[in-house]
Symmetry: C2
Subunit: 312 residues, 2 copies
């Protein structure tokens, strides 16, 4: 199907057109790539009208329950909510590997919600590219809240923080200092920290909230436009969801999101370009490079000499 | 001076020849680079006879005192000890910016020790390359223990862990869980964790040691050839230095260091090559690339389209 024919129903908010467009951007066939990119350029002026929220947290922290609760709360108030997942290790098996209908029973069948599992790696740019492109399509289809969930391992947090407006860390009330420590690298990325399942242990939740508040204030400079804060939520009872959304609105009011997106786009373009430059160089040279690597390992030439020989 | 004329006195262990050789590898003049690389190739067969130990820890943890104590202890037992520093942010100002004579008063004047401050960035490969090359030269000059110190910020830990045989994290007894947490990303790199200044608070030191032991065991797979462990040292009194060195010897006996170095060399070669490929591509295109970046930011083309246009 021509990309132009997809654009109109997609802009009208038709789920089917959106799903087909995402399938198109996920395709690894070169002719599909050209069509997909045309479509994305055509829809670009419609981008930027949503808030993109990245979510991370260790397995068991209740990401699905949180997304279900927040998504339904937003949908009831007229928002249209898209949920995307980033899992660099995922291999698509013809459907959601995470069982979205089980994970988010209400949201997955809600007419104002759209859920898409993690795309597979594919070509240039990998999972991060497919997710970015899917976000643009969801925005064009009128979804004004985009939730991007990471599985919380490896590089996925950095990737998701680099493609969203606001990055949220979910923690448990009784996780203990050890576990909080694991997420310290992630703490530097986050704009909001949420103690989830706060109802299960209110005392521990209070303690966790103060610890997170202290840690976040250490990481924030006084001059920053936004001071990350810690909140409590019980996704199960819905308590705290409204406060969370108020914090999101404040963030939106205080942070220059268009500047943030511009610099994210530039960084993303640079990353893609470096990857493409390397691929173009390495294409068809696998054997030559393997032989070079062995010579260097054997000490016959220094790494620098070999590099100068390959790139005079 | 011809590199061949430097090789003989350097192999004979003359400090002056070593210092000149390091200055040669740090030079950014193209003709010096060729000479330096020739020298390094000539000396390569003499490499691999030392143990390379990387050291990291937050400022105030006592890295200098630890290196001074360990270095003097080793020198007394006939070892020859080289100390190098990696500080990606350092700008050379004609001498050590960290004041090695003040930091390590005994070691800096010891005939069996050689201390060299952090090199400046220079060209291809930056600080990491200069440090790697300096290590090779120190090994050829007969230094059998090479201590590489990182300032403990940014990417320097990963760099140093990637160029040493054994990576050591220094911590404080009373650092608290919060501070230990900061180093969690670093924990995954470390082979030994040392609670330094253990004499200042023995109770806290015991607690810190058990916490580190627990954390390290969580991070190590059962099948690993080496299980990272936590030790206590008091660099001031010298207590624990012998135990530290015994652990290093055990590590040496259990880990296949030549395999580790081979894979480090391959990874380093790949990194240098990618950097060189990118530099060759970007050379002379600064304006073109800036214009492309702006077009992408303005949404006139998608990042992917622009990349395909630049690299068809």
């Amino acid at each position: 199907m021509s990309p132009h024919l997809l654009a109109a129903p997609l802009l009208a908010g038709q789920r089917r057109a959106l799903a087909r467009a995402i399938t198109l951007v996920e395709s690894t066939r070169p002719q599909d790539e050209a069509s997909a990119q045309e479509l994305l350029t055509e829809l670009a002026p419609q981008g930027g009208r949503s808030i993109r929220i990245g979510l991370t947290g260790v397995p068991g922290v209740g990401k699905s329950t949180f997304i279900e609760a927040l998504g339904l709360w937003l949908a009831e108030r007229g928002h249209r909510v898209a949920v995307l997942a980033v899992d660099p290790s995922s291999v698509r098996t013809g459907g959601s590997i995470m069982g979205d209908k089980t994970r988010m029973p209400g949201l997955s069948v809600h007419p104002q919600a759209f859920i898409r599992p993690s795309p597979s790696g594919g070509t240039l740019g990998g999972v991060a590219r497919r997710t970015r492109e899917a976000m643009t399509l969801c925005e064009a289809a009128g979804y004004d809240v985009i939730l991007v969930e990471t599985v919380g391992v490896g590089q996925s947090e950095t990737q998701v923080a680099g493609m969203t407006d606001l990055f949220v860390l979910l923690t448990l009330p009784n996780a203990g200092d050890e576990l909080q420590g694991i997420k310290r690298g992630i703490m530097e990325l986050c704009d909001l920290a949420v103690v989830n399942k706060a109802d299960t242990d209110p005392k521990a939740a209070n303690r966790a909230q103060s610890q997170l508040t202290a840690a976040l204030s250490l990481l924030t400079s006084h001059a920053a436009e936004w001071h990350p804060r810690a909140l409590q939520v019980s996704a199960l009872t819905g308590k705290g969801i409204e406060g969370f959304w108020e914090a999101v609105q404040q963030f939106r009011g205080e942070v220059d999101l268009s500047a943030r997106r511009r610099s994210q786009t530039a960084a993303w373009f640079d990353e893609l370009l470096r990857e493409a430059v390397w691929k173009a160089f390495a294409a068809g040279r696998a054997e030559e490079l393997a032989a070079a690597r062995e010579q260097v390992q054997a000490g016959q030439q220094t790494p620098v000499q070999m590099v100068r020989q390959l790139i005079p």
